[in-house]
């Protein structure tokens, strides 16, 4: 197997005395999709922000210990937690980029979508505004936005939720990142739009070879797109492994309980009456 693209080792993040992440470790391989799964308060979103080193900005959080190793193109690795802010800025949006849950609030309401994508490109590539605009248009076409030239002139509030998320993805992929972190990218979307988005992300991943770290609470989405998964609960690592293995035979009691409470579409075939969830007693875990 390849060397991992990203290795998180014993990551611990504190908000004051409270540990938002407590000794988390996992590996993410190039071209693969890793799902980080957990319920609210499990620390999955903090993990993403910690890798980007965005967690300490404007909050009381502090990365207390651990390593986040990123493998560079030349094979060397760097610890993101030890990089200067300046070095991190050249990595964010360039080597690692992010897509968030709420596409409306994640785009700045006072600038056009085009401007926001062009800004990203010009931040990391030395190009003229014109070339950046050309590249942005290409990206808009790549994420299959109809009439991309027009949408570039639109403000975020003029677009539908699905279009906004396409703009976010175009922006995130505009500098050919090797890792895309997607934090609940489809949670705010309707189910048919979610399906489009999952299909799009999958095909773009095949096209660009980027690794994807997918943060979600939705087991359906995990089962659909992820290769590997990490389960978190109450800031702590629970288990990790291939999606097939964990869904087939969850190792940890918590994972078993969690999967038992997930309704699986199609599981009621042949039954006429409703059926309760077969819940596992989680007391004392």
């Amino acid at each position: 197997m390849d060397q991992p693209l990203l290795s998180v080792r014993n990551l611990t993040v504190k908000f004051g005395e409270f540990k938002a992440i407590d000794g988390l470790s996992f590996d993410l391989y190039p071209g693969k999709t890793l799902a980080v799964v957990g319920e609210s308060g499990s620390g999955k979103s903090v993990t993403a922000l910690s890798i980007m080193r965005l967690v300490e900005l404007g909050t009381r959080a502090k990365v207390a210990e651990g390593e986040v190793l990123l493998r560079r193109d030349d094979g060397s690795t760097i610890d993101l937690l030890k990089q200067s802010e300046r070095a991190m800025r050249s990595i964010r949006g360039n080597d690692i980029s992010m897509v968030f849950q709420e596409p409306l609030t994640s785009l700045n309401p006072v600038y056009t979508t085009g401007d926001q994508v062009i800004e990203t490109i010009r931040q990391h590539r030395k190009t003229t505004r014109r070339d950046a605009a050309k590249r942005a248009l290409e990206m808009f076409e790549k994420v299959r936005i109809p009439r991309p030239d027009k949408v570039m002139q639109d403000y975020p509030h003029q677009l539908s939720g699905g279009m906004r998320q396409r703009v976010m993805i175009a922006m995130a992929l505009s500098c050919d990142p090797r890792l895309l972190i997607a934090d609940e990218p489809t949670t705010a979307l309707d189910v048919t739009i979610q399906a489009q988005m999952l299909g799009l992300m999958k095909s773009l991943q095949q096209e660009t070879g980027a690794a994807v770290m997918l943060i979600t609470h939705d087991m359906g989405v995990v089962a659909e797109v992820a290769d590997d998964m990490v389960v978190m609960r109450n800031s702590k690592f629970v288990e990790s492994g291939s999606v097939y293995d964990i869904f087939e035979k969850p190792g940890a009691a918590y994972t078993r309980a969690l999967l038992a409470s997930v309704p699986r579409l199609g599981s009621m075939k042949g039954k006429t009456e409703p059926e309760r969830f077969d819940l596992v007693d989680r007391e004392g875990m």
Partner: protein, 297 residues
């Protein structure tokens, strides 16, 4: 019932916080600035209302030579003014005038503002549009100038001053009450009350109003402060009762001598400042204490 519990309470039996009582008061007490404000206001009220009961000397009497500075041996503690009157005595008596005018004005402002705001916010539509246009009109009137005109036209009685302050100061309260009512009206707990079968009156009075009280109470302390400043400004310009020397009026009287007699202008002004500050501190403390979401953090 036991069977129900087995399947349903597993994840939810996490530790609950202790039941809270008097937590609002405790939050307020923990806010040092707010407690300071309350103490300050208490002292000012004692000086303005209790002390004058014991000191019966004529406040307008000549007590020492004109412009005697404070802490001069043989002179009154805070010195004398341009007529040789005791500054401390006059300032002590000035408080009640200021506080009464401001208090009545604040009541008027809160009443008018809250009523108009509540109607506009709850009923919405045409009612809202008309009431908001009226509010906008009163909001563009430059307050102090308008009060000057009213007092100049109708005479400088306490009533005209109170009404003049009231007319121009209610719009912000109306706006705030309205937006609060609109916000609450859309929340699901109000819908839930409707679904239970609660009447409109019950929803307005028992459901929404208690939830707007905190904001109204905080606003009252701030409005009271603003009304004191307003009264002081009017009185400073000479529109006040010459027989009841309010703090602002007294600053106005002493203004032309301020180069030689800085204390007679600064001390009453300082009292205005302290009173408004104490009210603002209290309002700020209440704002935190009364917000249930901030409790128990």
């Amino acid at each position: 019932m036991t069977t129900l519990r087995d399947t349903t309470t597993l994840a939810d039996t996490r530790e609950r916080p202790p039941i809270e009582r008097y937590q609002g008061l405790r939050m307020f007490m923990a806010n040092k600035a707010a407690v300071l404000g309350a103490i300050l206001l208490g002292v000012i009220l004692i000086i303005s209302y209790i002390l004058p009961l014991f000191i019966t000397t004529d406040k307008l009497a000549y007590v020492a030579s004109r412009h005697t500075p404070p802490l001069t041996e043989g002179g009154p503690i805070l010195g004398t003014d341009y007529l040789g009157r005791d500054v401390a005595l006059i300032v002590m008596h000035g408080g009640s005038t200021t506080l009464e005018v401001a208090g009545f004005a604040a009541l008027l402002i809160i009443f008018v503002g809250a009523t108009i705001g509540a109607f506009a916010g709850y009923y919405g539509g045409m009612v809202d549009r008309v009431l908001m246009k009226v509010t906008e009109f009163f909001q563009v009137l430059p307050g102090l100038l308008f009060a000057l005109v009213v007092v100049a036209l109708f005479g400088a009685s306490t009533a005209t001053i109170v009404i003049a302050i009231g007319i121009v100061s209610w719009p912000p309260i109306a706006r705030q009450t309205r937006s609060e009512f609109m916000k609450q009206k859309g929340l699901e707990y109000v819908k839930a009350a409707k679904a239970i079968g609660a009447s409109n009156a019950r929803i307005i009075l028992r459901t929404i109003l208690p939830n707007t009280f905190p904001i109204l109470i905080v606003q009252s302390t701030l409005t009271m402060g603003a009304a004191i400043l307003f009264e002081a400004g009017l009185a400073f310009l000479g529109l006040g009762d010459p027989n009841n020397l309010s703090w602002g009026y007294y600053v106005g009287l002493n203004r032309q001598y301020f180069l030689t007699n800085w204390w007679a202008v600064s001390i009453p002004g300082f009292m205005v400042f302290l009173t408004v500050l104490s009210l603002s501190l209290i309002g700020d403390g209440l704002q935190d204490a009364i917000n249930p979401k901030l409790r128990g953090r």
